[in-house]
């Protein structure tokens, strides 16, 4: 006698929380593109100078640069959501005291800055 409502394909359009969730999951698409570029780049490197320069030229294509910029923004957004969740999933203790959530989030961003600094030093230092 009871009726069982079923979820439609558009369930995630129902509220903001679901839309933000979908946005977070969608960040994988531009990242996938970036990873494919990276793999192709490594492969071109192994194929000699000509292939490498061709790859470099493709990377300078405005559309490719646009998608890769999007990938950077997407990964920063994903990192932001992840860092926010981290203190809830992995509450850490230090010297018998709970580390506060803002401290954990700040620690993770410090890690990102360190990686940026390392990369900047490697390529431009």
């Amino acid at each position: 006698m009871s009726y069982r409502p079923t979820l439609t394909r558009t369930w995630w359009l129902k509220n903001t929380a679901f839309k933000v969730y979908m946005l977070r999951e969608l960040t994988v698409l531009p990242l996938l593109f970036f990873l494919l570029c990276l793999v192709k780049g490594l492969y071109s490197l192994s194929q000699g100078a000509e292939a490498w320069y061709l790859w470099l030229a493709v990377m300078q294509n405005p559309l490719v640069m646009l998608i890769n910029t999007l990938a950077l923004l997407a990964s920063l957004f994903h990192a932001w959501t992840f860092f926010q969740l981290f203190p809830r999933v992995m509450p850490l203790e230090f010297g018998g005291k709970k580390v506060s959530a803002p401290a954990l989030v700040a620690g993770q961003w410090a890690g990102v800055l360190a990686v940026f600094a390392l990369v900047a030093w490697l390529f431009w230092g």
Partner: protein, 245 residues
């Protein structure tokens, strides 16, 4: 002051489809949605069915969807919906028996499945024994937040994974399992892990996180479920190394 309240009705003896019906309800600053439902039943339409008991957000029986959001009817007030209007529907993702009455069977089965009780180290020496089981504030602090659940099931109505697959053990039950695993008086983790590790267990959760947003007791079930993923992964590594299971 009066407000129009629309309710999704379902009367199986009349129609196999639910339909909406509106009522005009007088309210003041202290009128809750539950008060409005009671007013409708007593003054306007005695055929309306809904659940309630405590009227103070502690029994967990009055869950509804209010403008699409899972809420406790006794915990929300008409005064806050003057602009938006009010659509009251039965809790999402559960079979509906009549009007706002849902069938909670699947939720209760999942709760039971996680063995939500203290399992003592030696089954003969039951936890019910008269010996005191002292706990330090720090030991209590490890799980206290996760023990505030009132089994209202709102988190299940907020969880699209449960909506897509009712076999998913779901937020509250996984939280309860985690609550007992974190309790130093309990020795039942090994018995709970197979269920937590299973396909219907913690790994079905994709951290949508809406469950924690709607929880009226700030239990943060999303945190508990994802903490138990960490436990589950550790458990897997140990069992691969041939250690404790």
């Amino acid at each position: 002051m009066e407000l129009e309240v629309t309710i999704q009705r379902y009367l199986p003896e009349q129609s196999s489809e639910p339909f909406n019906q509106s009522y005009t309800v007088p309210y003041d600053t202290s009128t809750s949605v539950l008060d409005a439902l009671t007013y409708i039943k007593e003054e306007l339409d005695p055929t309306l069915s809904y659940r309630w008991s405590c009227r103070m957000a502690i029994c967990g029986s009055c869950g509804i969807m209010l403008n699409g959001k899972p809420m406790l009817g006794c915990n929300v007030f008409l005064r806050d919906y003057v602009q938006t209007g009010m659509l009251i529907e039965p809790m999402a993702h559960f079979p509906v028996e009549r009007d706002l009455i849902i069938d909670m069977e699947s939720f209760l089965t999942h709760l039971e499945a996680v063995k939500p009780y203290l399992i003592s180290k030696d089954s003969k020496e039951s936890v019910q024994s008269f010996d005191p089981h002292n706990q330090t504030p720090r030991q209590l602090d490890k799980y206290q937040q996760f023990s505030s659940c009132i089994n209202c099931g709102l988190c299940y109505s907020a969880c699209p994974q449960f909506g897509l697959n009712p076999e998913f053990i779901g937020p509250a039950a996984l939280t309860l399992a985690h609550r007992y695993n974190l309790d130093n008086r309990d020795a039942g983790q090994a018995e709970r892990m197979p269920m937590i590790n299973s396909e219907e267990g913690a790994w079905s959760c994709t951290f949508v996180g809406y469950c924690s947003e709607v929880c009226p007791k700030s239990v943060d079930p999303a945190a508990a479920v994802n903490q138990s993923k960490v436990t589950s992964a550790t458990d897997l590594i140990f069992s691969l190394l041939g250690g404790r299971s």
